[in-house]
């Protein structure tokens, strides 16, 4: 019964194509592929904004005494005065760099773009379960983006309490001079939460209920697994942030005191609620990247994913652990030390599934036939960088060591190894990898490789020394470190980091150029340029509205490369009929 409905809608979608106006087709589209591309452009824009904020910060950190900010004159006096970035503007930069990158760039790029694009294609359905909600999930992000950008230009400037929004600093305008800007960002967060929840409902429902025939749970590509688990995390974590954010807005505007001690409220409650959301959020930001990496590594190595089931189990256990470790962000917060004890142990155990994943990725490369194209390079880069990020996490998980390195640049290094070296590397890889499917053209390989090496080298020059700066004891979010006796002697390192950061930012424009240039001038892509097995590659590039004339039937696992029974090629598409190829190939 349900099938017939699905089929019918599929047909309806296919026929609708010819009658749609431009507005319905490209702006208020309910096609998951168009929505994904909208998300992609939106998030690339905010990636640039977030990067720009970081560049301003790096200038200030490296040359706090110089003034003379290049183009400082274009900023109003309330941000940059006499060529000096003002501390309040710096706080806004710190806060909004983190907020924009997490909520408006990386999270929607991982989930909004790729869950939208890949779930229906890789599962073999015509579209998402609820296409109109899907459209809404993009359009809810638009007011969020506008509020965020506009908040820089209101009296008092943008939010300046850090992306973690710790109350009471975030709740009391009289202590920061930031009033409206903070409220606008919180309102943006509520919109982001709405978008995220609507998206997640869609992803979960589609994955549970709309898989193509033969697409059993254990035949789902790891990308889908990771996006599915991510959606569950977002579904359960985002509402808590929304609730907390709304309480914080009330504290600011209508005189409640949920998080204000003078009215009986509790600052630590904010931290608990924030990190109850925040730690699953961290995994929302990395799990999809792990999925893309598994996929790209498998394709690029021409080998099945090593230990597919272990990978799935590791994903699930990371997600589960994600809900019981949030306290490790609060070891020095005045939380009950007994809680610290339990959170230490649970936190350290995240290293186990992370190790499983890393070794399995290496296992996937082992005895492979590595095709080192740009996407593959970024995927390998992900494994290398994620390993560093994961290992540096062990230092923080160990509570006694965390006493010293908490809130220092060691943490900054750690999160950037995971979020930039991890998530963003995987995202670049994913864009290089799926670009031909999205736009029907290949991105330029030479530019791609130059982009990879620039990014890889400069990234490490930027963030590896931060471990050292953190060991020296440089605190996070410090506007000017030169006044501290124990921070003498790190000026050169900071300048080096800043120069490399400028280079890293610039290399992003090479990517942007490649992206837009290839739209028009890139080599035309065939349906399956990478000889990949998953379903999306068995459609034309780009796929038509509605994806499939006829829903495919799945006969194989997701990553069947170099199967010994297939001789004329080294891959076996998921929907290839076994009787056409070989009777033995249907396993797993």
């Amino acid at each position: 019964m349900a099938t017939i409905v699905a089929e019918a809608t599929g047909q309806a979608i296919l026929h609708e194509e010819h009658e749609q106006s431009f507005l319905r087709k490209y702006i208020f589209s309910t096609d998951h592929k168009v929505i994904a591309i909208q998300f992609l452009i939106y998030t690339l824009f905010f990636l640039m904004i977030g990067g720009l904020l970081a560049m301003l910060m790096r200038y200030q950190i490296a040359w706090p005494a110089r003034g003379e900010l290049p183009l400082g004159g274009i900023f109003p006096e309330s941000m940059v005065a006499s060529g000096y970035i003002l501390p309040e503007f710096y706080n806004a930069l710190v806060t909004m760099h983190g907020s924009v990158m997490v909520f408006l760039a990386i999270m929607p790029m991982l989930v909004g773009v790729w869950a939208n694009y890949l779930i229906p294609l890789q599962l073999g359905t015509h579209d998402m379960a609820f296409p109109r909600l899907n459209m809404l999930s993009f359009w809810a992000m638009v007011p969020a983006g506008i509020l965020t950008l506009a908040s820089f230009f209101v009296v008092g400037g943008a939010a300046g309490a850090g992306w973690t929004l710790y109350a009471p600093l975030s709740a009391r305008p009289d202590l920061t001079g930031v009033g409206l800007g903070q409220i606008m960002w919180l309102a943006a967060l509520v919109f982001i939460g709405l978008s995220s929840i609507l998206g997640s409902v869609n992803y979960i429902t589609t994955t549970i209920n709309m898989r193509a025939p033969g697409m059993t749970w254990m035949r789902m590509p790891l990308t889908i697994w990771s996006l599915f688990i991510t959606a569950i995390l977002a579904l359960l974590a985002m509402p808590v942030l929304s609730a907390a954010g709304i309480m914080l807005i009330f504290d600011q505007t209508i005189g409640t005191s949920f998080f204000l001690p003078e009215g009986g409220g509790q600052p630590l409650l904010w931290q608990h609620l924030f990190w109850f959301f925040g730690h699953p959020e961290v995994y929302i930001l990395i799990l999809p990247a792990m999925g893309f990496t598994s996929e790209i590594l498998s394709v690029g190595s021409r080998k099945p994913v090593f230990g597919y089931k272990a990978m799935v189990l590791a994903l699930v256990s990371i997600a589960f652990l994600g809900f019981i470790v949030w306290g490790h962000h609060m070891f020095q917060s005045g939380m009950n030390p007994m809680l610290g004890l339990t959170f230490t142990v649970s936190t350290l155990f995240i290293a186990v599934p992370s190790a499983i994943k890393t070794f399995n990725w290496m296992g996937t490369m082992w005895r492979g036939n590595l095709q080192l194209h740009s996407a593959m390079l970024f995927a390998i880069g992900f494994v290398a960088m994620f390993a560093i990020g994961g290992l540096s996490g062990v230092f923080m998980a160990s509570t006694p060591v965390d006493i010293y390195i908490h809130d220092t640049y060691f943490i900054v290094a750690h999160i950037h190894y995971v979020l930039f070296g991890g998530s963003l590397f995987a995202l670049f890889g994913a864009i290089y990898f799926w670009y031909p499917k999205m736009f029907g053209r290949m991105m330029d390989e030479t530019m791609g490789k130059i982009h990879f090496w620039l990014t890889f080298i400069l990234f490490n020059v930027v963030f590896f020394p931060m471990h050292g700066v953190g060991m020296v004891g440089m605190m996070r979010r410090i506007y000017d470190s030169t006044g501290y006796a124990h921070l003498q002697g790190i000026e050169d390192t900071n300048a080096l980091i800043s120069w490399a950061a400028f280079g890293l930012f610039a290399s992003g424009f090479l990517f942007a150029f490649n992206f837009f240039w290839s739209l028009k001038k890139g080599r035309k892509a065939e349906a399956n340029p990478w000889n990949a097995t998953t379903l999306e590659w068995q459609t034309p590039s780009p796929p038509k509205h509605g994806n499939w004339e006829e829903i495919p039937v799945v006969y194989h696992g997701p990553h069947e490369y170099s199967h010994p029974d297939v001789e004329d090629k080294d891959w076996l598409a998921q929907n290839e009929r076994p009787d056409v190829v070989s009777p033995a190939a249907g396993s797993h």
Binding site: M1, T3, H272, F276, I324, L339
Partner: protein, 101 residues
């Protein structure tokens, strides 16, 4: 595999005709509500009031979920979806409460 769809459809038809006793549940809920209000003002120790009120609240919530929301008649897989957030809720509240231990 086509049986699967058929099975789902027939399952839906089955309980369509055997209506759970909606009015009985309604009476049940109404009586529990009255009981709750009465218990709240009894002159017994506060903790006894709290415990009995919580039990009755959960009881009522279960009645609504099982009968009005049909969880009693749904496949186990859907029940699993409905139960999914409860561990997270429990972990959150227990851990935050540990600040007071």
């Amino acid at each position: 595999m086509s049986e699967a769809g058929g099975h789902a459809a027939s399952a839906a038809d089955d309980h369509a005709h055997e209506h759970p006793k909606y009015m009985l549940i309604w009476l049940y809920l109404a009586i529990l509500t009255i009981l709750e209000v009465l218990v709240a003002f009894l002159a017994i120790p506060k903790w006894m009031i709290v415990v009995s009120l919580l039990i009755m609240a959960v009881w009522k919530a279960l009645l609504v979920a099982l009968y009005y929301m049909h969880l009693k008649f749904e496949p186990n897989r859907l029940r699993l979806v409905a139960l999914a957030p409860l561990p997270a809720v429990a972990i959150m509240i227990i851990a935050i409460m540990m600040e007071y231990v």
